[in-house]
Amino acid sequence: MDFTFNDDQLAFREAVSRFLMTEAAPEMLREVWETDIGRSPDLRHKIAEQGLTALSVPEDCGGLGMDDVAWSLMTQELGYYAIPDSLADTAYVAAGLITALPDSIATRSEWLGRIADGSIRIAVGHPVNPLVADAQPSDLLLLSHDDEVHAVPRSLVDVIANPSIDLSRRLGHVVWEPSSATRVATGDTGRALWAAVLERGVLSVAGQLLGLAQRMLDLSVDYAAQRKQFGKAIGSFQAVKHHLADVATRIEFAKPVLYRAAHAVAHGEDDAPVRVSHAKLACGEAAWLAARHGIQVHGAMGYTWEVDLQMFMKRAWALDASWGDRGFHKSRVAGFVLGDAAALGPGRTFEE
């Protein structure tokens, strides 16, 4: 029993953080926001060079074969730097689905190879999301038709753009027709694939929300330490301290929930959906509180476009309702807590 990360995992996270700190500064985000596509091919190229697109791809397809637990560190970094890219959708969520496809799907290994080398962008249209993130700039879309999974080239769909308050989000209403040519899974197989995609998608935004929360906390701490009022740094006022201490506490206690959920998904545990929903709620609450207290600590500055806080805050609000809103996740947790008395209580945290 060891519920911690090993040194390699921590070093990997550190390396990703250093890379993104250099390559994805807020000024770069602002530049990307101004572009039509809202994506930086240059950033994506650098990410691929670092091998980050290959994380989940199996080793025999040119990847690193890392699991959901490693991704729970990676997504926090993507959130912390508010990466304006659907990297996790392609390299984690879609990669997971495609890896699980039978070998008989001829293009499976080609797709995995292209995910690994960073030459493909895949959008995932799970029914829990009314719109598809990054449908417009994608090369391939994984779309659902009842239980079926369809892998549809971009050229076969129409995308109607739906702008979000988070300019890093590029949402599309996708119009398409299912056909046997695009179908890659059906029936029980398709259903299982979509179920697995859901958990990964939720884990992915949960991790990003936690990273966003940490970033908003760090920005607020910096601001509070520097900004003076009534002759003192505002960070020396108890109200400011207590606001930020509450955010820090919320973040600290959301982290292990995220890691436990990632482990449950990686190992196919029965209660994975409940753990994942718990993680989404905990990380979403942390991000929401970080935004609330962050803007309060920043005062009027926090309400401006100019100060970086807004980029992280708006992204947190947007992601909080993606991959299932709170009602969706609360009802999954309630179904478990109010339905299965045997599984509650001490001693069940790691044993089913």
Partner: protein, 388 residues
């Protein structure tokens, strides 16, 4: 305690309701944080003024219709119930207006108030400075006397819609040797005076909702001072009280939001009920808005009997700003994944107006004195706790 409206009050309500029903467009105006929307709102204000409905509490001679506070509450209730546009000149009408009524000379009242009621002059507010936000006494902008003029130098910030405004009112340090609350004067500045530079500030939503204003040897006549020289803090504090208090945020606004929230919940009940707190918060919103309205009528009754709005203005500020935030957060929860969509998104439907309101509600606990400052005021002045 007599909770029946008088026949006169009932007639007034009917008149206002009927006029609004005939005149409020179903098509919402563009945002008043855009040039186009600003002009649309100014046009609307002029129509209100033409029917003597822009400033109902002001004397008829100054462009109003001499209503009492109860009639004002009635007007506000009907105004918000009708879905009429937000008031674009409220900095002038609601903040400066009452100050001029109390501290202005007769000539100043005649000069400024009717044009303000008619929105001929649009007013921007000049309280905050880069290093004097919540700590307003830290103001450093100067107004140095030179004959029958003041020469202004310095910088103001967070001035709402100032890029479209005609005039600014604000506090300037007229005694350069003074500090803190002393030696300030309350001065009105035409924004087309040479030496004034206005630089827009973009808000969270990307719109140029605020501005910074720079003063570089700006000369304004001494006649533009409200109240005595050096008494600006006293004059401004009265205004700040009005701002935090009832005038700026009348209860009708929140009761209308609460009703819209109930309707939103009803329309999405099936999905909303997966989160059991939503139903509760929707009911709490009605209760909160109703409590705020009741407190307003209670206060107005006491004012009519000669009381003055005191530090309870600080409790008002906390209550409306947190209620507004809670209602809009709840709406976002009900809307779920659609909540993030902008008005131009084809799938946004009814969601986008809630998003706009949600973003605006974020500012509530910050402007007009942060809620932390209000809590300090309540603790120190209402409860008598020692200063830090």
């Amino acid at each position: 305690m007599d909770l029946a409206y008088t026949p006169k009050q009932r007639v007034f309500r009917e008149e206002v309701r009927a006029w609004l029903a005939d005149n409020v467009s179903r098509q919402p105006l563009a945002s008043y944080d855009t040039k186009e929307g600003f002009e649309q709102h100014r046009e609307w204000e002029r129509r209100l003024f033409d029917h003597r409905l822009s400033m109902v509490m002001w004397p008829e001679a100054l462009g109003g219709r001499g209503c009492d506070l109860i009639e004002w509450l009635i007007f506000e209730e009907e105004y918000y119930a009708s879905g009429a546009p937000l008031r674009v000149n409220q900095n002038g009408q609601l903040l400066l207006g009452p100050t001029l009524m109390e501290f202005g000379t007769e000539a100043q009242k005649q000069r400024f108030l009717p044009r303000m009621a008619a929105s001929e002059d649009m007013w921007a507010q000049g309280w905050s400075e880069p290093n004097a936000g919540s700590d307003m006494a830290a103001i450093t902008s100067k107004a140095i006397r030179d004959g029958d003029h003041y020469v202004l130098n310095g910088q103001k910030t967070w001035s709402t819609r100032a890029i479209y405004a005609d005039w600014l009112f604000g506090l300037f340090r007229s005694d350069p040797a003074s500090s803190r609350h002393h030696g300030l004067s309350f001065v009105l500045v035409p924004l087309d005076t040479p030496g004034v530079t206005i630089r827009p500030i973009r808000a969270l939503n990307g719109k140029e909702a605020f501005a910074e204003i720079f003063f570089d040897d700006v000369r304004v006549p001494v006649d533009n001072r409200i109240g005595d020289e050096g008494q600006g803090w006293h004059v401004a504090m009265a205004t700040a009280g009005f701002e935090r208090g009832l005038l700026l945020r009348s209860p009708g606004r929140f009761q209308h939001t609460a009703r819209r929230l109930v309707a939103l919940y009803q329309a999405h009940r099936e999905t909303a009920d997966r989160d059991p707190t939503i139903r509760d918060t929707v009911c709490e919103s009605w209760m909160g808005a109703e409590a705020y309205a009741l407190a307003a009528y209670h206060t107005v009754g006491r004012l009519a009997k000669g009381a003055r709005i005191g530090d309870e203005a600080s409790t008002n500020k906390i209550v409306w700003s947190e209620l507004d935030l809670k209602m809009h957060e709840t709406a976002m929860r009900i809307l779920g994944a659609r909540g993030e969509l902008l008005a131009e998104a084809p799938d946004a439907g009814d969601a986008a107006s809630w998003l706009e309101g949600f973003l605006f509600a974020q500012a509530g606990p910050i402007y007009a004195g942060t809620n932390e400052i209000q809590r300090n005021i309540i603790a120190e002045r209402m409860l008598g706790l020692p200063k830090s």
